[in-house]
């Protein structure tokens, strides 16, 4: 199990356009990735490729989330996803 934390950089938080970009990136990966707010139990983690899950997570700007994945290439994949979350996608 690989695990990474990321701080949400988008000003509107992780919904609307930033959530769409992130969910699409996760969906393109061959592995399953979960997302949870930092401090929440791993059992409550949600499917990171679901824009609806991301929206219900409601991660705001500055909040820390935990990404988890298993399998080949999980580390590299999470590294890339952290970069997306830590970019202000709203500004682009």
């Amino acid at each position: 199990m690989s695990e990474r934390t990321a701080t949400i950089a988008s000003r509107v938080g992780l919904h609307a356009r930033p959530a769409a970009i992130f969910a699409e990136a996760v969906g393109a990966l061959p592995i399953e990735v979960t997302i949870a707010l930092e401090g929440d139990p791993a059992d409550d983690a949600m499917d990171a490729s679901s824009i609806l899950s991301l929206m219900s997570l409601g991660a705001a700007n500055g909040q820390v989330v935990v990404l988890r994945a298993e399998g080949d290439g999980a580390d590299e994949a999470l590294e890339g996803l952290v970069k997306i979350l830590e970019t202000d996608l709203d500004a682009e």
Binding site: A16, A23, E24, S50, I51, L52, S53, M55, S56
Partner: protein, 561 residues
């Protein structure tokens, strides 16, 4: 030749072929089971394929969309095949539920979850329900709900359009709008006027016109004719030629006798303001400030507001810009200001009244307007919506004074304000008639209801009487305080003549209507306008008032207005 009559809400004469907007998708019956010939695995595969097809269709449409519409489509496309939505449905399918019913229920629970999160998320619940309808339509093999996607231009026929349809309405393809429901103040009418599309609403029976039928639509007369004759084809050609001249406004509203009627624009943001200035508007008669508050979970900051307002002021150096303070409530709810559970929102806490329940928001908005006005050359006036009493007018004037704003005014849209205009104008510097709401309140008829369309027109003699009383109140007050109109009424060239005849000083409208209103006013003297106003006031009905005034203005028919 078959024909239909409705209410003309946006002028234009056009010939084209009909496309019906598909009906809303009906709910699959509760408890609907999988057909005995289908396994749960097959049903899940079919559902996934339908979801993917809907996703592909939405994605493809997002490519050609622009602005806000594009990001809405992109996000909705992702929702269509969302794992949370589909997994929820597959779970139900595995218990024996049909695919249609399974996706219906799964989407309902997702929508409820979003709704409970409130604010922005709650608004996205509508997108989930839209996606659900599309998937069910795909499963049933019927056309997707919403405006048909087409490369061929067509005349759109629908029950009524919702605000959400604006995002997908492409004015390059849609030639005209015809609805069987809706009224003159419905969203269909507002969308049509903003886009400059000919439109007829409340035309009973049009839902029976088959797709592909050639029809002639006259958006001024309110008529639709199947299989147009030679005269109608010629009228459409003449309109196309006229439309070019009617699109150009000289930049000064002047009547046949030289009397000046400043023609201003209604705008909802800086981009709108720049367009209105380019169209020759002599100022802004109504700046709707909601644009900077909508789609927000919380109040915008002072800096955000200042930037937003300044963008509008900068488009009109040396010209008047009338700012209407936040008008939330009723059909424009805001999570941090209005209570969505009111039993009667149109008669509830809306407009100026939100200051009773959420004090501070208005004060900060006035401070932002004052700051934005500093250092610009615009002549900034401020008015409050939904004022009912002189006491409220006095309170608003005091708040404006404290913010350093020198020109406070009120909207007259509650009948009580028209009836007490003299005392109200004793407290403020000007009045602006919001004819849409004034009509709805005078006639006790909801703006959005098709069956009440006949009541809901500013041609109602009772509404004209309230306008006359407001002008009389200003005269009695004795300081020549201006009375303008900033409702949809000002955009109707015939009604504009009547309004001037009633003594209204300025007219503010969607920028697209400026040239047409100016063209008609230029042919009429003030004396004639007063005579026509008298005819309208004395008419026994709205229909008669309109017909009698139009009969005296042959220029309207010449121009196809």
């Amino acid at each position: 030749m078959q024909s239909f009559t409705g209410v003309g809400v946006s002028p234009g004469r056009i010939v084209g072929s009909v496309r019906q907007m598909p009906k809303a998708v009906s709910e699959p019956p509760a408890g609907e089971q999988l057909a005995s010939s289908t396994t749960a695995e097959d049903a899940a595969v079919t559902l996934r394929a339908a979801a993917k097809a809907v996703q592909a269709e939405l994605k493809q449409r997002s490519v050609s969309a622009t602005g806000a519409g594009k990001s809405v489509l992109e996000a909705t496309a992702l929702m269509a095949a969302d794992p949370m939505l589909i997994k929820g449905a597959v779970k139900l399918i595995n218990t024996g539920t049909s695919a249609e019913r399974a996706i219906w229920e799964s989407a309902a629970s997702v929508a409820e979850m979003l709704h409970n999160l409130g604010g922005y998320m709650a608004e996205r619940a509508t997108d989930v329900l839209d996606v659900r309808s599309r998937i069910v339509a795909e499963l049933r093999g019927v056309p997707a709900p919403g405006i048909p996607a087409s490369d061929e231009p067509f005349i759109l026929v629908a029950d009524d359009l919702a605000p959400a349809d604006t995002a997908t309405l492409n004015p390059a393809v849609v030639l005209a709008l015809v609805t069987s429901g809706g009224g003159p103040q419905s969203h269909t009418a507002i969308i049509a006027r903003a886009l400059g599309l000919p439109a007829v609403v409340a035309a009973v029976g049009v839902e029976a016109i088959a797709d592909g039928t050639q029809v002639y639509v006259d958006g001024a007369a309110g008529s639709i004719s199947v299989d147009p004759d030679a005269d109608q084809l010629e009228a459409a050609t003449a309109w196309a030629a006229n439309a070019a001249t009617l699109a150009v406004f000289s930049g000064e509203g002047v009547m046949a006798d030289g009397h000046l009627v400043p023609l201003l624009a209604n705008v909802g943001g800086a981009a709108d303001a720049v367009k209105a200035a380019a169209a020759g508007a002599q100022g802004v008669g109504l700046l709707r400030t909601e644009f900077c508050f909508l789609d927000r979970d919380e109040e915008p900051t002072l800096d955000e507001q200042v930037t937003a307002y300044r963008g509008v002021f900068d488009a009109f150096p040396g010209k008047k810009v009338v700012v209407r303070t936040l008008d939330a409530g009723a059909d424009k709810p805001l999570p941090f200001l209005t209570d969505a559970s009111e039993p009667n929102p149109a008669l509830g806490v809306r407009g100026y009244r939100t200051d009773f329940t959420s004090p501070g928001v208005l004060k900060r908005q006035l401070a932002a307007v004052a700051t934005a006005a500093e250092g610009t050359e615009a002549d900034v006036w401020v008015m409050a919506p939904m004022i009912s009493t002189a006491e409220e007018a006095a309170d608003f004037a005091r708040m404006c004074g404290e913010a350093g704003l020198k020109n406070p005014g009120v909207m007259v849209e509650v009948p009580s304000a028209a009836l007490t205009a003299e005392t109200i104008l004793g407290e403020v510097n000007f009045a602006s008639l919001g004819t849409n709401d004034l009509t709805q309140y005078a006639m006790a008829a909801d703006r959005q209801l098709g069956p009440l369309a006949a009541l809901n027109t500013p041609w109602q003699p009772a509404v004209l009487r309230l306008i006359q009383l407001t002008v009389a109140g200003s005269v009695a007050e004795g300081n020549n305080k201006p009375v303008g109109v900033c409702g949809e009424a000002a955009a109707d060239p015939a009604l504009a003549v009547v309004l001037v005849g009633l003594g209204v000083n300025t007219l503010s409208m969607t920028a697209r209507a400026l040239a047409a209103v100016a063209a008609v006013l230029a042919k009429v003297t003030v004396e004639e306008a007063q005579r026509l106003a008298g005819i309208a006031l004395a008419a026994p009905s709205a229909l008669e008032a309109r017909a009698r005034v139009r009969a005296e203005l042959p220029i309207l028919d010449e121009l196809g207005l």
